[in-house]
Point group: D2
Chain length 344, copies 4
């Protein structure tokens, strides 16, 4: 059965594996001071037209969020996240284990945070008997596949600055966000809009690896201490550095994300053509079609994917995830099955 | 310049990289529930003749120590380590960041813990105004390249059991320990002697990866929650699982460790032949010859390695580390340089 | 202006202060091992008909909750509390600072937790990617002055037992709860129904002090270590021990709570007589009448109390708190003002 | 049996208890915003000729150290303390439970830290693989009763400033230190020399209470959040505020400390007259005479005090502690017993 369950089912893009083999026996410094990590950091700075950001390579999203957020906050300060935010739900309390509360803000079905929702959290936390909201956590794409527009991000950024809040962007699926048709942001916009963010490699063709970009000077100091302390500094840091070098030396990172999005779009169009709706607009590599249970039971026999939520007695919203590795034949087969079932 | 600075200067054994390529496009479950991880765990249990241990794959030593120790201890309980213990010195307070004190016990030049030293710590912590020593941390090989004999480990094990202390063994360099001429332990002895230990992959031919083995039933519950919380659960858990599968499906893990030790032995013999002494007996892939500064200044021009400590005005103990990747030509060149300098 | 803002505006009942003076120069052991603390613990056990509970005296509610909950939970385990629960809102993240997430369960206006609400939290936390709900936190009276009936508490208790959840009761205002006309619980019922709870002294006539009662044997071990570690063990433990001895040697604790409730009831009756409603039924020493803003503006000129929430354009729910120290003349004056304003 | 075990065996000075009674029924704001706390803070500022320090009242030494140090440090930063430092030994890992390592520096028998010892710790922590020493913890008097001279403290202060280290002084027994014949510091010197310190009330006549003085502006922000979070903010903050008001409105604090020291001196003179030595020079309310075991066994039948350490087969150093409450008759009786035994 072909799987549309997630975007980390396969290994890594072959260019990455080949680069590992090519460089394998070169002796390098450990702990991220190898030439590949240094070059990758320089390359990313160039791609962002920004010489001042600090860049660190970590192994996964939870680790990156935990290490960064616990580095940025004082003990009484809290992160504000959407109810559906990854740090709130799916990281087994990694932020709390470092001592910080995650305050939840209301969000729509799409998982996007609004100024109004953040303001409501601020209003509810006026004094020292409560934690102090200090960092706003957003994800792009969100956990439900939505993307922020440049204007939305600019407004959040201005609001955070004026309220002395850090703005942190979880980019586990930043590739898919930037490659989305709904997107008008560029990678180089981000350092001007957020205090820190990370570029996800794991879900866009790497074996593992996230590139944390710290934009706010005040948050840069001693970050390598924090990485080591949280178990986030690989002895063979070359492994993550090299992968980002490969992903960004040409346009591979964006090409892979585009492929994922195109595959998702193809399915979305078929879903729409078949007359079905979506839980949220399909704009990235995660889409949430609402399908009749009769259709679903058949599709589940051929494909792996998650049922997301019951919409009514007869229909369920499902989550389909495409990736850099998604085979077009599999997408075609899925569409075929869908059509066949519909026309029955 | 060839480097004898550490055992993580190169990438990974080619069998591992080839296996990554072969399995690359197979779709697998995430988060360590892939077939490679499952098979590797089964394989390790067989190698240990022990069906009851629980096995988890993590990415590095600091992460493994932090995740395991913080899972095992209640808030007021402390780890006891040698003054030179890795958790005490070189993990940027990773144990403390999870809330636990590391109590230091005296140890000899070789970094080995003794019952007398642990007893002294127990004696100094009689009541609730002090932390409660609860876990004894040892490393094999130690940070200074020594190995525990079976008899020593049995005595430590009996002592810990009778004093309600957990015994935890850091096996970052367990390969080199088990392959040492000074060793009489087998991998299968360990589950009977310690409450938990890990088998180090990073320093013995893997890109990254440590296999934590939890032997004490009382310490197994919910460990995957702890892994996720500490950022130690890779989305592509296949990456670590597959590597351990390759390392243990034949004898590769032990062959690589033997190679490292043989290379070190070759240097040791040359050092002895040249009439020089060692800080501690050279029995593993880390050796600490004491060399005249005049010899050193020349060797440093051709090779990378660390000066460890000044022995007297004219002599310095250095650390030479060999590995699975060490080239015999480089070892020969080092020996040649040493001899040349001596005969001058 | 007389204050109905809270129940900790005054010092302590005179019997307590007199006992402090009487015993002042007796030399006692430190750290809670003095005769008064030991006697108070024995006395409380008798009052509960339970020789097996463990009793510890701490200084305040936040400290007691933090010390107890962090002692009871493993790192990945979470507390479940009502949205309005004190540990969720008003303790500046004290639970999170010890590493644990507070999961919120829906609750009614009265702040009481229901089985359905807890079940919903359990359903939303099925696996290791999320924290594990392990302890249910309730308060009696709740933060909004409601009390649990014996039947409600029995049902919660049975549910928690069958779901392997600890049930913890915050008794900051347990005196007022037990003295409430809506209550059918006795102090001696609690050890059979909850795993741990505390009897609040600070808000019922003591200078400071809460008596933590640990009922579940599995949670008792080494608790004094935890107290010391969290800064909760007073050198002069006699100060809290003696106060509980005075509060419980006769019936003072219950008499003081009754006085507080009677004072609140008197106001409630006047409010009802004047034709006004309440946010929640007035059953304890915290009542929440809904008053016209015109009435309020006048009352605020004579009395201190908090506006709780806007009910509509013309009316506001306020919080009035009475205590062991509330003077009946002040209550009469308040009622008088209310009547006067109404009849205008 | 009369006790010389510690300085917290009795309640509080009668002036304090009387003030509690006098002010008992005055309604005050909670959480340290009462008039007594505000007045006490102002009074202390005046006594220090320093309008800029921030003053907070907490309940005990461990709590004060934990709350302050965890507020001042980032996660990877460590405190440096003497091996005998209270935070290192006797606080059940309270600093570590907030995530920070306590690095130990060598110290003499007197428990005083030297620049050389701190420098050795700095030298041993050069990079991000180790914690970063950031705060130097000293106590005055030390745990072994010694006092720092002004010159010593000035040198430590200058060293810390030039090495970007915070200097923190634990003043649990600051009264005795300032009243010592070996002292040339004044209370008003401290804000110029340290970044923060606390004035101990518990061991100098209060029921409980320590006044934390934060001198460094950079460390003041949001401290009340930290207090609340650590369970250190009393609902009836008046209790600690009032006590410091009483202790400092006249000269009571210093009078009580002088009494304690004079009582200790009287014993010291008798010890010397009897021809016995001390472990460290007797200069405060803790003295450590070295007495023959034969003498000790008799004294132990009449008086309570701790044996501190075996000096040789026949002699033991003991700890005798006097306090604000020590009765001169008891001191005379002790001296009498000593003399009697000696002349036997």
């Amino acid at each position: 059965m072909y799987s549309f369950k997630n975007d980390y089912s396969e290994g890594a893009h072959l260019q990455i594996l080949n680069a590992l083999i090519e460089t394998n026996m070169v002796q390098e410094e450990g702990y991220g001071e190898d030439q590949y990590s240094l070059q990758a950091a320089e390359l990313l700075k160039k791609k962002m037209n920004n010489a001042h950001v600090a860049i660190h390579f970590l192994t996964g999203g939870t680790q990156t969020n935990m290490t960064a957020i616990s580095s940025f906050l004082r003990p009484h300060e809290a992160a504000v996240a959407a109810v559906s935010g990854h740090i709130n739900v799916h990281e087994t309390g990694a932020i709390e284990t470092t001592g910080h509360k995650v305050l939840t803000a209301d969000c729509g079905k799409d998982g996007k945070l609004t100024i109004a929702a953040i303001q409501a959290v601020l209003d509810a936390h006026p004094d020292e008997h409560m934690v102090k909201p200090k960092l706003v956590y957003i994800s792009d794409t969100t956990e439900i596949g939505a993307v922020y527009t440049k204007s939305e991000l600019e407004q959040l950024s201005a609001f955070c600055k004026s309220h002395h809040l850090y703005l942190y962007l979880d980019g586990a699926r930043l590739g898919s966000a930037l490659a989305s048709s709904a997107n008008d942001l560029e990678l180089s916009d981000l350092p001007n809009l957020v205090d820190a963010f990370y570029i996800g490699g794991t879900k866009n063709g790497a074996l593992l690896g996230e590139a944390l970009v710290i934009c706010n000077d005040a948050l840069k100091e001693d970050f390598r201490f924090l990485m080591k302390q949280k178990g986030a500094m690989l002895a063979k840091g070359r492994l993550t550095g090299l992968q980002f070098l490969v992903l960004f030396r040409d346009n591979l990172f964006f090409d892979l994300a585009s492929h994922a999005n195109v595959m998702a779009e193809k399915i979305s169009e078929a879903v729409q053509a078949a007359g079905y709706d979506f839980l949220t607009p399909p704009v990235s590599n995660q889409i949430f079609p609402i399908l009749p249970n009769t259709v679903l039971s058949e599709l589940h026999q051929q494909f792996n994917f998650f049922d997301w939520e019951k919409v009514d007695e007869h229909r369920t919203a499902v989550r389909l995830v495409t990736s850099w590795a998604t085979k077009e034949e599999a997408v075609d087969a899925f569409i075929e099955s869908l059509k066949k079932k519909v026309t029955e």
